[in-house]
């Protein structure tokens, strides 16, 4: 077998309100771009095949598996990651609710889950428990057994509409 020749592309995107531009190999995934080029390691890789959801970020407000898209596909778009969630130097309401409800243990799955739940709450300010469970089912958490995560999101939802 012959090794693949590598190609590079210049990619620029707005990550958490800051423009990040870099020349990368075209095979670079969005998650890798965020972790290496943008230096934002809060986006995790748990499987690199689209199942675990640890790599979930918002691309133009849509939850997206960072391991399944190439950075080049996101050129010119807006990306939000877990590092952009906090309200200044305080946890935002969703993060705070995870804290108060023991919604995390090792924290490896947490960033991706927070991004999906952010998107859910932006689309549906008052989601039902069933909707939360449905959205959460796209994520794997090996530590918590999920119940405290559901409770955390319910608590955040009960706290009002504006996530900040």
């Amino acid at each position: 077998m012959i090794a693949m020749p590598s190609h590079t592309a210049t990619v620029a995107m707005e990550v958490n309100d800051t423009t990040v531009a870099a020349a990368v190999e075209t095979r670079t995934s969005l998650a890798e771009f965020l972790r290496v080029q943008a230096g934002l390691t809060g986006t995790k890789l748990g499987c690199e095949h689209g199942v675990c959801g640890a790599c979930t970020v918002l691309v133009d407000d849509e939850p997206t598996r960072g391991c399944l898209v190439f950075a080049a596909q996101v050129d010119g778009k807006k990306v939000r990651t877990v590092e952009g969630l906090a309200d200044g130097r305080a946890l935002n309401r969703l993060q705070q609710a995870f804290h108060e409800n023991f919604g995390l243990q090792c924290g490896f799955c947490t960033g991706g889950i927070l991004m999906s739940m952010t998107s859910l709450m932006e689309k549906e300010p008052n989601p039902s428990r069933e909707q939360i469970v449905e959205w959460l089912s796209g994520h794997l958490c090996r530590c918590t057994g999920y119940e405290t995560i559901i409770n955390a999101v319910l608590a955040a939802v009960a706290g009002g509409e504006d996530l900040r």
């Binding site: 077998m1 090794a3 693949m4 590598s6 190999e25 095979r27 972790r35 934002l40 390691t41 809060g42 986006t43 995790k44 890789l45 748990g46 499987c47 690199e48 095949h49 199942v51 675990c52 640890a54 990651t81 877990v82 590092e83 969630l85 906090a86 946890l91 993060q95 995870f98 804290h99 108060e100 023991f102 995390l104 243990q105 090792c106 924290g107 490896f108 799955c109 947490t110 960033g111 927070l114 469970v133 449905e134 959460l136 089912s137 994520h139 794997l140 958490c141 090996r142 530590c143 918590t144 057994g145 999920y146 119940e147 405290t148 995560i149 559901i150």
Partner: protein, 793 residues
């Protein structure tokens, strides 16, 4: 306010201001804002990236490995095969120190033979992981097939091919013991119930895979080794032993760890290969496991065939039992737990569980197969052992026409202390009470009515229960009590600074259990300050205090014990200086809420910060001959085994058309003594129980007859998701241990230990109207449909 007392050693009366409360985790804000630094998040200047070419055959002669093309690829710095690394290290030896375990030596990279799919053949180090993987494609491997050994039962038959030439007869472990007149009891038994149960092969699947970064510096000769491990000190010991690097020159560092569950409590070849490559190249070398590798090779677990026979008398008392546990061990012993720990623990440690059976015999065996080595996973040995025992208890209850609660109540040990057949004394617990409480919690009679009503509508509900006792707090004494002569101990340093804040340094690492928070609670109460005033350094470098590893439900007991011992003398100093400041006897002073106060006089007090300042800077209030400073280091090893116990019930519904099992509710009774932090403890219960539900219904690593692993993605290996979890009802019975520092007992594994049997028993209860019974997990929808006769072929 509650006061906790304990007769253990010299435990002082401590005001329990934070122990017992759901103190929010200090770990969270950093992890919630993306600030966690896990292994893959670290990068070092000039680092190179490693990938491992792994066998895609289960059993073959390895005739040739040609790496020349790979070596020539631009960006590749090193390609090693088995022969290259054998010059540095012949391999790692594995065995458990129990009777009948036969050691193996596992090469770092395969030499003459490939023993399992995933066995590493070559190491490639390159400028990037992608280039390393490109180079792997250029390596050509020539092999000649050997017969694969995939069935552990067949493996032990005479004439079976060998899975690993080091293990004659494919026996990696064989032993057993007999206590009392077992044969006579069976000969005169009114009834004998005997069945075989199979627990599937699992992957612990922490969401963070394994990873290693090694950085060797020729000038200082120092090696820094970052690894995602539960036992950094043991890794350092192994690294120095196998690679001949002096211990003082090796630092093992443990960054944030994304779950371990026992998988990360082993020595893996990658932890030796990366240091070797770094030393060779004089550059940092980083290896991050991908999910396929994790499922393929990173410590598979729990697969056993367990046969149990119960002898019953005419009053339905169990008079004797026989247990045979057979583990499917894979091709090598993975140190330190090896293929032995699973069947040995299932058969030898507590085959009788909470039941009053002193006449018993057991055998344990591990068969070598051409599969990846097994290791420890949460509840190692206990889960499968409890699974089989609680399953046959249910079958026996059904056979004699008793309710599962009544049959258990009849046979449970009612009077503690109790010495089991093997001579182990069980002195604390709530064994009978946990069964009674569980029955009330589920509302058993009322459930039976609901079940009947549902059946009339064609719906199949089932209730299954599972009762356990676990030896927790892995210590030297616990190992010895059960026949495993290993030595465990941990050290803590506690320091109070001049302004009254505290730093605790532990040898215990954390993989998400929140040990930093619970340790801070224990230290805070000892020193009379708030948990927010305590920083805990939890095993993140071997430069800090020694620890035997965060394994086997030992964190709470061992951390509390070590912190308690180290904080004791500091507490005495605070009391002595405060007494001088307040001009009163030390006996009349309480340390709590940040103040040293005179008991019964709310006005007379001085802040602990002021006392600490005086200890450092004001010798006028020092007692005669005062030993200055506020820092102490002590080691701790629990003096005896500590037994947690509990009971669980699963309420399930089985869909007779799809075969799908829904777990509606898990009822949990847990007695882990003093609950340090209910939020954290209940989190361990939920997480463990959901892992148990995964084991019971969804998860299985599957090998085909050729020894090919067919479950190499998370699409094939099904972890439980949020839409399949039950509602939890959790109650604590608190029997504080008089043997631990603050009465806490271990509990990290208990829910995983108990849940699978509860689910199986519930499914069997649900499908009983079909005359069907299942004995193997995971229970797939197809298994259910076959059992109830909906699918035949």
């Amino acid at each position: 306010m509650t006061w906790q007392t304990s007769s253990h050693r010299s435990t002082p009366m401590v005001a329990a201001r934070s122990v017992g409360r759901s103190v929010l985790r200090s770990e969270d804000p950093r992890l919630l804002s993306g600030g966690g630094r896990y292994l893959a998040d670290l990068s070092l200047p000039r680092e190179l990236h490693a990938a491992l070419l792994r066998s895609n055959e289960a059993h073959s002669r390895l005739l040739a490995v040609d790496v020349s093309e790979a070596q020539a690829l631009p960006g590749v710095h090193l390609v090693w095969t088995g022969a290259d690394v054998a010059t540095f290290c012949q391999g790692i030896e594995g065995a458990l120190a129990v009777d009948g375990c036969i050691a193996t030596v596992m090469p770092l990279l395969a030499r003459d033979t490939l023993h399992y799919v995933g066995e590493p053949i070559a190491l490639v180090v390159a400028d990037s992981r992608a280039i390393a993987e490109d180079a792997m494609e250029l390596i050509s491997v020539t092999t000649e097939p050997l017969p694969p050994v995939t069935d552990p039962n067949a493996a032990l038959e005479a004439g079976s091919p060998l899975a690993n030439e080091q293990l004659a007869g494919n026996v990696g472990l064989r032993g057993g013991a007999s206590f009392g007149p077992v044969d006579e009891c069976f000969a005169v038994a009114h009834r004998v119930v005997e069945e075989t149960y199979h627990t599937g092969r699992l992957s612990p699947t922490p969401m963070e895979t394994r990873g290693v970064i090694a950085s060797y510096d020729w000038a200082s000769q120092e090696l820094k080794l970052w690894t995602s491990t539960q036992m950094p000190h043991l890794i350092r010991y192994f690294v120095t032993a196998y690679l001949g690097i002096q211990e003082n020159l090796v630092e093992v560092l443990t960054p944030d760890t994304g779950g371990g569950f026992g998988q990360k409590a082993h020595l893996f070849v990658e932890e030796l290969l990366m240091p070797l490559a770094s030393r060779e190249l004089n550059r940092p070398v980083k290896w991050v496991e991908d999910r396929r590798e994790n499922l393929m090779v990173a410590g598979q677990a729990h697969e056993q065939f367990i046969t149990i026979a119960l002898a019953l008398d005419s009053d339905n008392h169990i008079t004797a039992m026989r247990t045979r546990a057979l583990g499917d061990g894979g091709a090598f012993h993975q140190p330190p737990w090896s293929m032995a720990v699973e069947p040995w623990c299932a058969a030898a440690v507590t085959p009788q569980g909470v039941y009053n059976v002193k006449t018993l015999e057991y055998t344990y065996e591990a068969a070598a197969t051409n599969k990846a080595p097994v290791g420890a996973y949460r509840g190692v040995g206990y889960m499968a052992g409890t699974y089989a025992r609680e399953a046959i208890i249910d079958e026996a209850a059904r056979a004699v026409g008793m309710s599962p609660f009544d049959f258990r109540r009849l046979n449970v040990v009612k009077q503690l202390p109790w010495v089991n057949g093997q001579g182990v004394t069980y002195d604390e617990g709530s064994w009978l009470e946990s069964i009674d409480r569980l029955e009330q919690m589920v509302g058993y009679e009322e459930f039976r009515e609901r079940q009947l009503a549902a059946r009339a509508e064609g719906r199949y509900l089932g209730l299954g229960i599972s009762v356990f006792v676990e030896s927790t707090g892995e210590s030297t004494a616990m190992g010895k009590a059960h026949g495993l002569p290993d030595v465990y101990h941990d050290t803590a340093t506690v320091r109070m600074d001049p302004n009254g804040t505290v730093t605790v340094t532990l040898g215990l690492t954390t993989q998400g259990q929140g040990n930093r928070t619970t340790a801070a609670q224990v230290a805070a109460d000892m020193m009379g300050v708030r948990p927010e005033d305590v920083t805990v350094i939890a095993g993140d470098s071997t430069r800090h205090t020694y620890g035997s590893g965060t394994v086997a439900s030992r964190g709470a007991i061992i951390a509390a014990g070590a912190i308690g011992r180290a904080a004791g003398p500091l507490r005495d100093k605070l009391l002595a200086v405060a007494a001088n400041m307040l001009e009163i006897s030390t006996d009349d002073i309480e340390l709590a809420d940040g103040r040293a106060s005179v008991r019964g006089d709310s006005e007379a007090s001085v802040s602990i910060a002021d006392v600490a300042t005086s200890v450092y800077f004001d010798d006028s209030v020092w007692p005669e001959g005062f030993d200055p400073g506020l820092e102490a280091t002590f080691a701790y090893d629990a003096g005896r085994p500590m037994f947690s116990n509990g009971a669980q019930a699963a309420l399930v519904e089985v869909d007779p058309f799809t075969g799908f099992v829904t777990v509606d509710t898990m009822y949990v009774i847990e007695d882990c003594g003093t609950v340090i932090n209910p939020g954290i403890v209940d989190g361990q219960i939920r997480g463990g129980a959901v892992q148990g539900i995964g084991a019971a219904l969804f998860e299985q690593l599957l090998y085909d007859d050729a020894g090919q692993l067919t479950t190499t993605t998370l699409m094939d290996y099904h972890l439980p998701t949020a839409d399949v979890i039950p509602v939890f009802k959790i109650e604590h019975l608190q029997t504080p241990s008089s043997h631990t520092w603050n009465g806490a007992k271990g509990m990290g594994e208990s829910a995983m230990i108990a849940a699978p049997a509860a689910v199986l028993n519930a499914v069997n209860d649900a499908i009983a109207p079909f005359g069907a019974i299942l004995r193997d997990i995971p229970i797939t929808p197809e298994d259910v449909l076959r059992a109830i006769g909906q699918v035949t072929d």
